[in-house]
Subunit: 130 residues, 2 copies
């Protein structure tokens, strides 16, 4: 066991593929990543995923020749961790201020705004329970 680090940028890219696509080989991940980031070497992705396995960010099934990697951390948990981290490091814990900047940074469409309102309703009804 080790301290839980923030996943790095490279690790996050790979995790997002695994979350979206499910258990995948290195080649799978590399193909997908190549679409948005052409020029990424295959062995670069391989090495990164090996390191992620060492860090227990992913597990791997070695039964087949091409190992199959699966995420070992959940997307929503990771999101929560990263957002909580930013909240403390950048906003001094003020959720309101963070939400404001989030909405300033990326204009949310009416549907998203409605979703957020709905969330607020639920939070207030639950009396702040998570």
């Amino acid at each position: 066991m080790q301290k839980l680090h923030r996943p790095t940028d490279g690790e996050l890219e790979i995790l997002r593929v695994l979350w979206r696509e499910g258990p995948s080989t290195v080649r799978d991940v590399h193909s997908i990543l190549s679409k948005t980031k052409p020029g990424t070497g295959y062995t670069t992705v391989l090495k990164l995923m090996q390191i992620m396995a060492d860090k227990d960010l992913v597990s791997r099934d070695e039964k087949n020749k091409a190992h199959i990697y699966s995420p070992r951390i959940r997307e929503d948990q990771t999101q929560k961790q990263l957002v909580g981290d930013l909240l403390d490091r950048v906003f001094g814990g003020s959720a309101a201020r963070m939400v404001m900047q989030a909405l300033a940074s990326k204009k949310a469409n009416p549907q998203e705004l409605a979703e957020i309102r709905h969330m607020l309703d639920e939070i207030e009804q639950n009396g702040g329970a998570v």
Copy 2:
């Protein structure tokens, strides 16, 4: 001019002091940082702030023996940048999902919830112009 990097963790700690306290010497910053992070060496903070000056994250006034450093980037802009960054890298651009995790990560008190509601009102009144 250079690409605008994300400020690193160390840089952010210093920036937050400068934003809060205004223009400060290295000793000022070091004293304040020592309260929350004892054991940080003086020259460590000095070096970091020198590098930040190289990167134009801060400016410095060398008129006095103890140079006075000032932030060169605005807090709200930096917050917006970092939040927008996380939004893309972690949430695929979905502000609603990010807000949800922000609220899950740190319980907002009723007053904050009210502030957020108020923000939503304003955004909707401004007619969601893209």
